[in-house]
């Protein structure tokens, strides 16, 4: 798939060159910061993860710009993954699972609509840094892929094993409108490190493995095993969703970017574990644009959390307040004891 087919190329915005491939600057294709521990020098170092056409993924040292690692389906690449025939446009989310300050999991969505899962190893040679493969394959419909980074959140419900919810939505990758979908997938083995052999054995999740939400009678939370999805119509997901207190809010671009890379964005909010209540689209409120419909923003703009002077974290879409994803920063008591109990 050629990136030149991306509709946002119709924008007249400036482009940035990334490894001989031109990505529109209005795309959510920015480099993703990552902390790695590579090679004999096991000290953590700050790097940037970038998507592209060739190589598909590259890792460069942030300070020097030196290429540390690349991945593609064909040489030259530090690591080759046979199925990596589609490019990436910045749909990367890195996770530090063990809290040691070094990222050890990568979820990446490609432009063919496939979601990759990589385990990142520490203090190893670059050619052994990542073990991974396609974790979910939604490439059945042409013309749509993942542009926005997946929204990864831990779910630790009482009586259930912890799991990761991976939420990602598709966007058009051609000029013609497509039926986009939003997927919430469950990684039931969030803390297990898989080898390449494990990934080869893994059968990628497909839509037939998931629960389709939004149809009558389908909203049974107990039936959600591997995850669920729902239709977005022609709305594109160009920015990551945001999960706050178990509730996901996503910003949907409801029209293709115009000549100034501006898109109309609206929001939807739902419980990420149960998908309940039913998917509802809401209009952001809270400022002069309240009630006046979708917010017009640069393509790729998403929900941001901003701390105000009162210590509250307000969820903002541009200058518009979206109360559904506000973060309550109030300290909550989790235990209590007397030190001098007699």
């Amino acid at each position: 798939m050629k990136l030149s087919r991306l509709p946002v190329l119709a924008c007249l915005c400036a482009c940035v060159s990334v490894d001989a491939i031109a990505l529109p600057s209005c795309l959510p294709g920015h480099a993703v910061p990552i902390v790695v521990s590579l090679g004999a020098d096991a000290r953590p170092k700050l790097a940037l993860l970038r998507g592209g056409a060739s190589p598909r993924i590259s890792l460069v040292e942030r300070e020097t710009g030196r290429v540390l690692w690349t991945a593609s389906d064909v040489p030259p690449a530090t690591q080759q993954f046979a199925a990596m025939h589609a490019g990436f446009a910045g749909s990367f989310t890195v996770i530090d699972l063990d809290g040691d300050g070094v990222h050890d999991r990568l979820y990446a969505g490609d432009l063919a609509g496939r979601l990759w899962r990589f385990d990142l190893h520490q203090a190893v040679a670059p050619q052994d840094w990542a073990s991974g493969g396609i974790w979910a394959d939604f490439s059945t419909a042409a013309g749509r892929g993942f542009l926005a980074p997946p929204d990864v959140s831990l779910s630790a419900l009482p009586g259930q094993m912890p799991r990761l919810n991976i939420a990602a939505g598709t966007a058009r990758t051609t000029d013609s409108a497509v039926a986009n979908r939003f997927y919430v997938l469950r990684d039931q083995q969030p803390f297990e490190v898989w080898s390449d052999a494990d990934y080869r054995k893994w059968q990628p999740l497909r839509e037939t493995d998931l629960l389709a939400i939004g149809k009558p009678g389908d909203e049974a939370a107990a039936a959600i095993d591997h995850g669920y999805y729902f239709d977005l119509g022609t709305a594109d997901v160009m920015a990551p969703s945001l999960t706050v207190s178990g509730r996901a809010t996503l910003a949907l671009s409801i029209a293709a970017p115009d000549g100034n890379c501006q898109v109309a964005v609206t929001t939807a909010s739902f419980d990420i574990d149960t998908a309940a209540p039913s998917i509802t689209h809401s209009t952001p409120s809270g400022n002069e644009q309240a009630g006046s419909g979708p917010v017009v923003l640069p393509a790729g703009s998403g929900l941001e959390l901003k701390l105000n002077d009162a210590g509250q974290a307000l969820c903002m879409l541009g200058n518009t307040h979206v109360a559904a994803c506000d973060v309550d920063t109030t300290p909550v008591q989790i235990y209590w004891r007397r030190e001098d109990a007699d």
């Binding site: 910061p33 989310t93 890195v94 996770i95 530090d96 699972l97 809290g99 929204d151 990864v152 959140s153 831990l154 779910s155 630790a156 912890p162 990551p240 969703s241 945001l242 999960t243 706050v244 207190s245 178990g246 941001e304 959390l305 901003k306 701390l307 210590g311 974290a313 973060v327 309550d328 920063t329 109030t330 300290p331 909550v332 008591q333 989790i334 235990y335 209590w336 004891r337 007397r338 030190e339 001098d340």
Partner: protein, 149 residues
């Protein structure tokens, strides 16, 4: 009246009356002293309990004040704070907020966008007669992370 050479003298009183009286006095004195001691002890204990309750109340007050401080402070320094009080001069109160951990993967929140910070608040209330009560509370809060430049 003729004097009888065989006039018998009145018998001298015999027995333990004095001893009994002395013993009774001693017992009464002991009982009085005991009662006095009990009263004094009860009074002392009541006073001590009162001060311990004051220390307890101060420690609870310190927990609330430190929780409010934590809500307002982005990054508490972990130092010992003495809170000013408008009570008895013998009362005082210290609090300390320690940061325990910070986790980028907090249940229910987007990883990397919101972090969970765990703190421990120690509040010690002091009053007269060495009354001291110490309370410890674990606190958790969610804080958004600024996006990397």
């Amino acid at each position: 009246m003729p004097c009888s050479p065989h006039r018998r003298l009145a018998p001298r009183p015999t027995g333990f009356a004095v001893v009994w009286v002395l013993m009774i006095i001693a017992v009464v004195a002991l009982l009085g002293a005991g009662a006095l001691h009990d009263t004094w002890f009860a009074q002392t204990q009541a006073g001590t309990q009162l001060y311990e309750q004051r220390a307890w109340a101060l420690a609870e007050l310190g927990l609330r004040a430190a929780t409010a401080d934590l809500a307002a402070a982005r990054d508490p320094d972990g130092s010992l704070h003495e809170l000013p009080l408008n009570t008895l001069p013998v009362d005082h109160l210290t609090t300390r907020i320690r940061k325990l951990s910070e986790r980028g993967l907090s249940a229910g929140f987007t990883a990397g966008r919101v972090i969970a910070q765990d703190f421990e608040i120690e509040s010690i209330g002091y009053s007269a007669r060495r009354a001291q009560r110490s309370l410890v509370a674990g606190m958790r809060r969610q804080i958004p992370v600024a996006p990397a430049p």
